[in-house]
């Protein structure tokens, strides 16, 4: 209880420019078995993750598939109920809100999904897709409604006459523009972008990323940018967090993380990215094996089964996640040895 209070005090102090504060977020999915569906264990999709994002900044979250990136994004918006922890958006704990309060708060937090093909209702024209939530939350008076939608569409580089068209008439890139417009129409403070460009072609990716950056500058939006594409994350983020099996293993400002990666997993991840230069022969750290099952994670440091620098202590004791100067957080025993 006491610890909790101090945590909240600290938040109050920096709440002014912090839009999102995630503290010790946990999300476990129960594993049920047998006739009576007894809970026999838990998949620890997210197991104690903390980070905060300042206004107008972008926090990039990277990691392999199955490490819990998407779960974080969804739990923060309470699209799935959390198991523990806090997510404070503009000074209010999202997890403590009642349903009615949550609904009121929805316009402030929006999400862009990965697949623009399945996240748009095929039976709704574009104007209605973008405007549905605007009507629901009474963002603008009825009379200005259509103009408002057109303005949002203009911001997202959609032509005015698209308003009565249906999603199937658009290409993947344009659909993603519609998804962004839908999120933007509510004037949110924070947008969770869950792999927004992964399903798109290279040249269209650039278009969407540019647009997201322009909108951020114009409206001071905060992004939680989830992606597995490191080069995109490097380009768009201010701070980057690396996840492995439900935990953050490293978090640092972008340039620091990419120039000076500390955790062996981050290094392996960075070296695995193919460099588009045929003359560069990479000194590659190739990780062996696959990501272990989150239902039965390894003891000690979760990464020790694949780590090239595994020591005895790694098998026994989970490393502490702490600041090693310059807001560079690392969770690795190697750091203490230096």
């Amino acid at each position: 209880m006491k610890a909790n209070d101090t945590v909240l005090d600290v938040i109050d102090l920096r709440a002014k420019d912090t839009v999102l504060d995630v503290i010790d977020l946990k999300k476990y999915y129960p594993i049920k078995s047998g006739v009576v569906q007894r809970v026999v264990g838990h998949v620890k999709a997210v197991d104690g993750v903390s980070f905060s994002i300042k206004r107008g900044q972008t926090f990039g979250l990277v990691g392999e598939s199955g490490c819990g990136k998407t779960t974080i994004g969804r739990t923060i918006l309470r699209l799935t109920e959390p198991t523990g922890g806090k997510a404070i958006i503009k000074g209010r704990d999202v997890f403590a809100l009642s349903k009615r309060e949550l609904r009121k708060m929805r316009p402030e937090m929006q999400i862009i999904f990965q697949d623009p093909y399945s996240s748009l209702d095929p039976r709704m024209p574009v104007g209605e897709i973008i405007g549905e939530a605007v009507k629901e939350h009474n963002i603008v008076p009825r009379a200005e409604y259509r103009d408002y939608i057109l303005k949002v569409m203009h911001d997202c580089e959609l032509r005015p006459y698209y308003i009565d068209r249906y999603p199937h008439e658009f290409s993947g890139g344009q659909r993603q523009c519609i998804c962004i417009a839908r999120a933007l129409a509510l004037n949110p403070d924070i947008i969770v972008a869950d792999e927004p460009v992964s399903a798109l072609d290279v040249s269209i990716q650039a278009q969407i990323i540019n647009m997201m950056r322009d909108l951020q500058e114009k409206r001071q939006i905060t992004y939680l940018f989830i992606s597995h594409d490191l080069s995109v994350v490097e380009y768009i983020s201010d701070v980057v967090g690396v996840m492995y099996l439900g935990n953050l293993v490293e978090k640092a400002p972008k340039t620091e993380l990419f120039k000076n990666p500390q955790h062996p997993y981050t290094r392996a991840l960075l070296s695995a990215v193919p460099v588009p230069n045929p003359d560069v022969k990479m000194n590659r750290v190739i990780l062996q094996g696959d990501i272990p099952s989150p239902a039965n994670p390894p003891k000690g440091c979760k990464f020790h089964t694949r780590c090239p620098h595994c020591m005895d202590i790694c098998r026994e004791q989970a490393p502490e996640y702490k600041d090693y100067g310059g807001e560079h957080f690392v969770a690795c025993h190697l750091m203490d040895q230096k």
Binding site: E64, L230, S231, E234, A272, P278, D290
Partner: protein
């Protein structure tokens, strides 16, 4: 108004008629009992090449018109080399590979003209895959030319064990091999692709494996019959970067072990730079630029190739804006008779209004289809 409607109707009817004729022609062609060998044997232009694609046209006869998915593609795959084919979705990369394997969706998809000369080393002859009868093709598919598909999830059959599916591929191409030997070979292949618990995986079902493991199984299957050519159609797109690194490493080492050629289809320029010896850049069904990796990455000439590279975040400083190619790919049904890239190109010149630019040689290895490079060619000569 009425008149216009009528013409649309007439147009659609004529398309239907045209398509029906094409389907009939194909049916007649397929129905022939025996095709004389002399009809499909040819001569390779260069005996060092494994595969020569010569002015290939693959069309899809759809109800709204003919889609020219590939419209005159010419390139070679030398023995023991890796050729990377790059381009955005819909540019005809995959259709090229399907044409080589002759697994197009028939009768809509047909090879309209052109030749795919394949150097059948084992029998010391060259054959034209376009004219080869299906019976003969079945021996080649999976045996001499094999394919790795993009989605390891959908490539494997969920109701059969890994072992059964591998055995099937091996047994089909070596009919006299006893069952035990086939099984042993399957386990050996699984070991070769770096699966530690190969005997265990042999008995498993696809759903029990992770994406990376499944892709390894698919690679094992593709390599099981010692192919001369491996067509890898986006082999790592569905995988994580760490697993991608493992798979690419594996492909590279295996290629050397069995001395095969690889045709690598991808949209990831990084993967191409790392794997390929030669690169082909495709746009809207045609080749816009081809050359060695060094040519393409150090001296890209075509505005499309340059745009493609500039739009990747790892080519630019993080402060700069990413370059995005304006506009869209032209509709594949009514392709214009000028350069397909003209409307999106920032460096148009007067000549661009003319006919589609032919592939022009900039150097011995480097060819570009752009009028801008005519001048560059002159400069090189001076």
């Amino acid at each position: 108004m009425q008149e216009k409607e009528l013409t649309t109707k007439q147009r659609l009817r004529s398309i239907k008629k045209f398509n029906a004729r094409k389907y009939r022609e194909l049916k007649r062609l397929r129905r022939r009992r025996s095709v004389p060998v002399s009809e499909y044997t040819t001569q390779m232009a260069d005996p060092n090449n494994l595969l020569e694609i010569d002015d290939l046209h693959t069309y899809f006869y759809t109800d709204i018109g003919t889609v020219k998915a590939i419209d005159g593609v010419t390139f070679q795959i030398p023995r023991g080399k890796t050729v990377g084919v790059v381009g955005e979705s819909g540019c005809g990369k995959s259709v090229t590979s399907l044409s080589i394997m002759r697994i197009l969706q028939e009768p809509q998809g047909q090879i309209a003209s052109g030749a795919i000369r394949y150097n059948q080393l084992a029998q010391n002859r060259a054959i034209d895959l376009v004219k080869t009868p299906l019976k003969e093709m079945q021996k080649i598919r999976g045996g001499e030319i094999s394919m790795i598909f993009q989605e390891p999830m959908t490539t494997l059959n969920p109701v059969f064990t890994i072992g059964k599916q591998l055995d099937e591929a091996i047994a089909l191409h070596s009919k006299k091999m006893p069952k035990k030997e086939v099984a042993a070979r399957s386990v050996e292949m699984l070991k070769l692709v770096g699966i530690a618990n190969s005997e265990g995986v042999y008995k498993m079902y696809p759903h029990e494996l992770s994406g990376g493991m499944r892709q390894r199984v698919v690679i094992a299957m593709a390599l099981a019959c010692n192919p001369n050519l491996i067509i890898a159609d986006e082999p790592t797109t569905a995988l994580d970067v760490t697993v991608q690194a493992q798979i690419l490493d594996l492909l590279r080492s295996l290629k050397e072990k069995i001395n095969a050629s690889i045709m690598l289809i991808t949209h990831d320029l990084g993967v191409v730079a790392e794997m390929a010896d030669l690169v082909v850049v495709m746009y809207a069904g045609r080749i816009v630029e081809q050359g060695t990796v060094q040519d393409i990455f150090h001296r890209p000439m075509h505005p499309y190739t340059i745009g493609l590279m500039k739009s990747r975040p790892n080519f630019v400083e993080s402060g700069d804006r990413l370059y995005s190619i304006p506009g869209n790919v032209p509709s594949p049904i009514d392709l214009p008779n000028y350069c397909f890239f003209r409307n999106r190109c920032s460096q148009c010149i007067a000549a661009c209004d003319g006919a589609y630019p032919p592939l022009m040689a900039v150097s011995d290895t480097h060819k570009v289809a752009c009028y801008l490079c005519e001048n560059a060619q002159g400069k090189d000569g001076e």
